[in-house]
C-alpha cells in the first residue's frame, strides 16, 4: 500500500496519513465487569485477516475508516464513519 483513498480527498500518498488502530466498541464502563474492561483496554484482535481501522488524513484533518487486509496490505474500501458505502 503506497496510496490510500481518502473518502473526501481521493487517492493520496500514504505519507499523508496516520494509523489510528482498529475500530472497536467500548463497553459501558459503569456497567461492565473489571474483566470486560481489562479486555477492552488491553486485548486486541491481532490475528491475520481483514480489519476495519481508523485512518487520519493529516493534511485535511479527516478521520475515516479503511478495511484492510493486514497480511498483504491491500485496502478493500474506505468510507466515513456511519457510511459503510465507498464514495
Amino acid at each position: 500500500m503506497k496510496i490510500l483513498t481518502c473518502p473526501i480527498n481521493g487517492p493520496r500518498p500514504i505519507q499523508e496519513f496516520h494509523y489510528g488502530g482498529a475500530v472497536r466498541d467500548m463497553p459501558d464502563p459503569a456497567a461492565c465487569t473489571d474483566e470486560e474492561w481489562a479486555d477492552y483496554v488491553f486485548n486486541r484482535d491481532g490475528a491475520p485477516g481483514v480489519k476495519a481501522e481508523w485512518w487520519y488524513h493529516s493534511a485535511s484533518s479527516v478521520w475515516f475508516i479503511a478495511e484492510r487486509d493486514v497480511v498483504n496490505d491491500e485496502i478493500l474500501r474506505t468510507y466515513l464513519w456511519g457510511k459503510s458505502e465507498s464514495p
Binding site: 496516520h18 474483566e35 481489562a38 479486555d39 488491553f42 491481532g46 490475528a47 491475520p48 481501522e53 497480511v71
Partner: protein, 422 residues
C-alpha cells in the same frame, strides 16, 4: 608476472571439490518422520524454541521433544534482529531477567562449543535533550541499584570513545547532551545461537522438524491433547508456542486473547568497511541504532513500521529515513552503500515486556510478546520456559510476565528502556 606464492590448496578442500556429498558432519539430524507422541512439542525453531529444547534435555532430563519449524531454523526473528545484547532496562523485573540472559550469553560459546562471535562493545544510548538525559539518569540509577554496569556520561567521554560521531548532528538535529553508557552491551552472531542450541538439543535426542507447519491444536476439557501438522497428528499434553511474530495465528487455535499486535521492523546492512566503530550507538530521538559487525558491515535499524502488518516486505520510505539519520550522526557515511534491507515481525505488547509461561489452557505454554527485544533474551527465555514446562510452575524470573497481568492491571512498563521510541 603476478607472484601468487606457493600453492597451498589443501587436500581437504580438494576432496570437498570432488565429493558429491557434503563431507562435514551436519549440525543436527534430519528425522525421517514424526513420532506418534512427544512429551513436549515446541512450535517455532527460532532461538527461543531451540534453547527451550536444549535446556529441557540438558537441565531437566526431558528428551522426547519435537521442535516444529515451518521454514528453516532461525528464519524468523532470530535471523532478522540487529543482534544487540544488553540489560540496562528500567524495571526490577526487566533488569533481573535480561541480566540473567547476559550472564548466560557470556559463557554461551563455551557451553554450546560453538563460536558465537560474542563481542562486548559498550552500548551508548544518546540523549539529545536535557529531558532525555534525565530518563537516562533514571535508568542508570535503577540499573546500578540492581548491580548492572550502567552510567550517564557527558559529551567529552562519548567523543573520546566514538571519535567519528558528530555530536552537533550537523546542526540539523538537536545536539548530543550526553548518553547512557552500558559497558557490557554486546553483539553476537544471531544465526549461530540458533545452530548451537539446535545441535545441543539434537545431541541429547530432541528432534528438529523443519518445513513442518502446525495447522491446529487439539484441546479437550481445557487441556492440550495434541497438535495437527501438515505432516500428521502428534499426541502430546505439553505445547510451547515460541513463534513470536506468528503468535496471533497460534493463539486463535487455542482460543486465547492477548494484547499482541504485529508490526514489521526493518533493518539494513551496508557494504563492509575497515573496523572503525567499536561501540553500539543508539539514538532514541533519531530512531536509529548502529553497530559494526565482525565482517565490517554496519548493521542499522530504526523504529517499527507505523501500522499493523503481518508481512516482511521492505519500504523505500524506511531506507531513506534511516539513511538520513545515520548521516546526522556519521556524516562521512555519505558514500557508503546499503547492501541489504529486510524486515522481521514484532509481536508488540502495550508495556514492552514479553508474555511468558502458563496460560488458562492446561498444557499450553506461551513465549511471546518479543516485539523488538527478543534476541537478547534467547538463553534465559529458553531456560525459564524449560523450567516451566518441566515443573508446570512459572519460573520466578518470568512470573511478572504472565499473560494474566493484563487482567490484573499489573503491567511491567519497559517502554522507557526500548532502544528507540516506537
Amino acid at each position: 608476472m603476478l607472484d601468487t606464492g606457493p600453492v597451498t590448496l589443501s587436500l581437504r578442500l580438494l576432496k570437498f571439490g570432488f565429493s558429491k556429498e557434503y563431507l562435514e558432519p551436519r549440525m543436527f539430524r534430519r528425522p525421517d518422520g514424526l513420532r506418534d507422541r512427544y512429551d513436549v512439542v515446541i512450535i517455532g525453531g527460532g532461538g527461543h524454541g531451540l534453547a527451550a529444547a536444549y535446556y529441557l534435555a540438558h537441565e531437566f532430563g526431558i528428551t522426547n521433544v519435537a521442535v516444529l519449524e515451518k521454514s528453516y531454523i532461525g528464519s524468523g526473528g532470530t535471523g532478522r534482529n540487529t543482534a544487540i545484547i544488553r540489560s540496562n532496562y528500567l524495571t526490577e523485573e526487566g533488569v533481573n531477567f535480561y541480566q540473567a540472559s547476559v550472564d548466560l550469553f557470556q559463557d554461551l560459546s563455551r557451553t554450546l562449543d560453538l563460536n558465537l562471535f560474542y563481542s562486548p562493545r559498550g552500548h551508548f544510548t544518546l540523549a539529545h535533550s536535557p529531558a532525555s538525559l534525565r530518563t537516562m539518569r533514571w535508568r542508570a540509577e535503577a540499573n546500578k541499584h540492581l548491580g548492572v554496569e550502567s552510567e550517564t556520561v557527558g559529551p567529552d567521554f562519548i567523543q573520546k570513545k566514538i571519535p567519528e560521531l558528530d555530536l552537533t548532528c550537523g546542526g540539523k538535529q538537536p545536539p548530543v547532551h550526553g548518553a547512557l553508557y552500558h559497558p557490557p552491551g554486546a553483539i553476537a552472531r544471531h544465526d549461530a545461537v540458533a545452530w548451537g542450541y539446535a545441535r545441543g538439543a539434537d545431541q541429547k535426542g530432541c528432534e528438529i522438524h523443519q518445513e513442518t507447519t502446525v495447522t491446529d491444536i487439539e484441546i479437550k476439557d481445557g487441556a492440550v491433547e495434541g497438535v495437527h501438522t501438515d505432516k500428521g497428528y502428534i499426541q502430546t499434553d505439553r505445547v510451547l508456542s515460541a513463534v513470536a511474530g506468528w503468535t496471533t495465528g497460534i493463539q486463535e487455535m487455542v482460543g486465547l486473547r492477548s494484547p499482541l499486535v504485529v508490526h514489521p521492523l526493518q533493518a539494513v546492512v551496508t557494504e563492509p568497511t575497515k573496523p572503525w566503530l567499536d561501540a553500539i550507538v543508539v539514538s532514541g530521538s533519531l530512531h536509529t541504532y548502529i553497530s559494526q559487525s565482525s565482517r565490517g558491515e554496519l548493521v542499522a535499524g530504526a523504529a517499527l513500521d507505523p501500522y499493523e502488518l503481518i508481512s516482511t516486505r521492505s519500504t523505500l520510505t524506511f531506507a531513506e529515513g534511516l539513511a538520513g539519520h545515520m548521516l546526522d550522526l556519521f556524516p562521512f557515511l555519505g558514500d557508503i552503500k546499503i547492501m541489504r534491507q529486510w524486515a522481521g515481525l514484532c509481536d508488540m505488547t502495550p508495556d514492552f515486556s514479553p508474555i511468558m509461561g502458563t496460560t488458562p489452557v492446561k498444557g499450553f505454554y506461551i513465549d511471546a510478546g518479543w516485539g523488538t527485544w527478543g534476541f537478547k533474551a534467547t538463553p534465559i527465555s529458553g531456560y525459564t520456559m524449560a523450567h516451566t514446562l518441566a515443573t508446570g510452575r512459572n519460573h520466578e524470573l518470568i512470573e511478572p510476565f504472565n499473560l494474566s497481568r493484563f487482567s490484573r492491571f499489573n503491567l511491567v512498563g519497559e517502554k522507557g528502556a526500548a532502544s528507540v521510541g516506537h
